[in-house]
């Protein structure tokens, strides 16, 4: 009797193990299938396509490394990299500094901080397309808030008269007509401004989480030693936030390379995405146009792989530098 029940228990366990295996297959199947197809197979297809000329209409032909050499000899590709670098420096630089600044301010013990949180985080939920439209209305030459204000203010300055003397024109010869989206020198920065508006809350959020993980005792003992606010920030907060800063800069760069939707919305009538004068041309726009307008999927895949390689190298370098500086005293 005793023996039998032991047997049953043993059988029960092995039966359960078997059921657990079957269940694992059942539970994993849908998600793993999707990832196998839309990530792994997809990635392999990109690599394979990059060696072929593919237009989906005729038979693909093997072209070796021709697509890659075409990418490297494509002037617009290098220009797009330069543009995206400007965008990266502006958005990541501003995000790292202003994000920490506002996060620290909102962690001070002040009343009504809830309102400020709502204000800073709200743009996060607004889509890139809506953001781009809103800023067309704000940045539009001759009709937007910013150019209109700039023209008015610079107009007053240039007309400035003190004691009968027209001193204004010494400062400015006349009102400035600003065209943030149409001037090639300003366009990329204007796009960066929109992107910063939409994303600043994220930097603040991540910094806030980092700030809250710092032991408050550290600040207290520093205060007893007489360290002021700035010294505490520089010698305690920033070094302890190093992993957060590393995370934010890596993901910030990767997100910057995904910039796309805004660029489709901002061209004025008759303009094309990437303009004016290719000043907002970025790699993903090139990939999109080459694939869906020129129907050259092999070439577009090669371009995508080059971008992937660049991002991978940046990530690895940053992670390495982060590790090294973490080990430093």
């Amino acid at each position: 009797m005793k023996k039998k029940s032991q047997d049953m228990a043993g059988n029960g366990i092995s039966a359960w193990r078997k059921r657990e295996k079957l269940a694992a297959i059942f539970f994993l199947f849908p998600a793993l299938l999707l990832i196998a197809v839309f990530a792994y197979a997809s990635f392999v297809i990109t690599v394979i396509m990059s060696f072929y000329k593919v237009d989906w209409l005729s038979e693909p032909t093997f072209v070796g490394l021709a697509n890659f050499s075409k990418v490297l000899h494509y002037d617009l590709f290098w220009k797009s990299l330069a543009n995206v670098s400007v965008f990266v420096i502006e958005t990541v630089g501003f995000g790292l500094v202003a994000g920490l600044f506002f996060a620290v301010l909102m962690e001070q013990k002040i009343k009504g901080v809830g309102f400020f949180r709502v204000a800073f985080f709200m743009p996060l939920v607004i889509s890139a397309a809506a953001t781009a439209w809103i800023f067309r209305l704000i940045f539009g030459k001759g009709y937007g808030v910013v150019p209109v204000l700039v023209t008015q203010v610079t107009g007053w300055i240039s007309d400035l008269t003190i004691g009968g003397y027209h001193v204004g024109h010494l400062l400015l010869s006349g009102p400035i007509v600003l065209d943030p989206l149409g001037d090639p020198r300003l366009a990329m920065t204007s796009v960066a401004a929109m992107s910063i508006w939409g994303g600043l809350g994220y930097w603040i959020l991540i910094y806030t989480a980092g700030l809250r993980s710092i032991d408050p005792g550290l600040y207290e003992s520093a205060m007893i030693d007489g360290a002021g606010f700035w010294r505490r920030t520089l010698y305690i907060t920033v070094p302890l936030l190093r992993p957060v800063i590393l995370f934010l800069s890596i993901t910030g760069i990767i997100r910057a390379f995904q910039l796309f939707a805004i660029l489709l919305i901002i061209p004025p009538y008759g303009g094309t995405p990437g303009g004016p004068d290719d000043s907002t041309q970025v790699p993903i726009l090139l990939i999109y146009n080459i694939a869906f307008s020129q129907r050259d999927f092999g070439y577009a895949s090669a371009l995508a792989l080059v971008i992937f390689a660049i991002l991978l190298v940046i990530t690895l370098i940053q992670a390495k530098v982060g590790k090294l500086s973490e080990g430093a005293p």
Partner: protein, 297 residues
């Protein structure tokens, strides 16, 4: 006496400091909120008063001459021809977006929770390998996969221009699986064992114990999914033509050459209002959701 003045000086310094903090934060908040205010204003204002030197910053709400509902009326009554690709009826677009968001979010949560449960609580060979294989795909930026996913969806799935193609590729993701798995690890094994002894099968354990206990992470992740689906432009743009979603409708306003700001702002408001309301309701969970990726990833 001296003590008293020192106290006053400290208090003055403190007040001064708070005042500066408030001033800086208020300036930042103004910069953040103004574009939203301006969007809603311009969507209800006669275009003349939204642009140029004649713009009115704070039109008194009782002055009827500033306001109009024409922009909304225009967007909602538009019947762009479906074959020209210029469709931008915002009622259709809103319905399509809601369907994509609802089905996509629920499906994604279910599949990711299932996979996360298997990786956290079921014992089988190759579990760690599968986890690594899933997580490592997070390294691949989305643009890399756009072209082959378009090809697979169109030619294998026959998903061009229909809801299947629009939704299916978004039904699972490495981030969601990882998030679910991490959370479910914290559910004590004893609870599941007790249910086993009571004769519950694995499927029942998942649905009646694990899923309810995972509500916080499901809500947090669900918020991210809703926002992601609702605001998605690129994938719908490449995979559908007539099945217009809101972000495409916004983009179409550029393509058809309408440069008028009133309707565009009404469109932006239609797209933004539901997510702003959602954000105001679930502020706390939203913050948790946004940071969940950073802290463990």
């Amino acid at each position: 006496m001296t003590h008293h003045t020192a106290f006053n000086r400290d208090r003055g310094k403190h007040l001064m400091r708070s005042a500066i903090i408030y001033l800086v934060l208020a300036a930042g908040a103004l910069a953040m909120l103004f574009p939203v205010y301006w969007m809603y204003m311009a969507s209800f204002k006669d275009e003349f008063y939204s642009t140029g030197e004649h713009m009115v910053w704070f039109p008194p709400p009782w002055e009827a001459k500033y306001f109009t509902l024409d922009h909304y009326r225009e967007l909602l009554s538009r019947t762009g021809s479906k074959t020209s690709g210029g469709t931008d009826n915002f009622i259709d677009a809103t319905v399509n977006t809601a369907i994509m968001t609802g089905v996509g979010t629920l499906g994604n949560i279910l599949f990711c929770a299932m996979a996360g449960f298997a990786l956290a609580k079921l014992k089988f060979r190759g579990r760690n390998f599968i986890l690594m294989a899933v997580v490592s795909t997070m390294m691949i930026p989305g643009i890399m996969l756009l072209l082959p996913n378009f090809a697979i969806t169109t030619f294998v799935l026959h998903g061009y221009n229909n809801f299947a193609g629009l939704i299916i590729p978004g039904l699972a993701g490495p981030f969601g699986i990882f998030l679910m798995r991490q959370y479910m690890l914290s559910i004590p094994d004893e609870l599941l064992d007790a249910a086993k002894v009571d004769g519950a099968g694995i499927v029942r354990i998942f649905f009646s114990i694990v899923l309810p206990l995972s509500t916080p992470i499901i809500v947090a992740y669900g918020i991210l999914l809703v926002l992601g689906f609702w605001n998605e432009l690129i994938w719908p743009m490449v995979i559908t033509k007539d099945l217009v979603v809101l972000q495409m409708a916004l983009q179409n306003l550029v393509e058809i050459g309408s440069q008028r700001m009133g309707p565009a702002m009404a469109g932006a408001a239609i797209s933004s209002t539901p997510v702003i309301i959602l954000f105001l309701i679930v502020r706390k969970q939203f913050v948790r959701a946004m940071t969940s990726g950073a802290l463990k990833g």
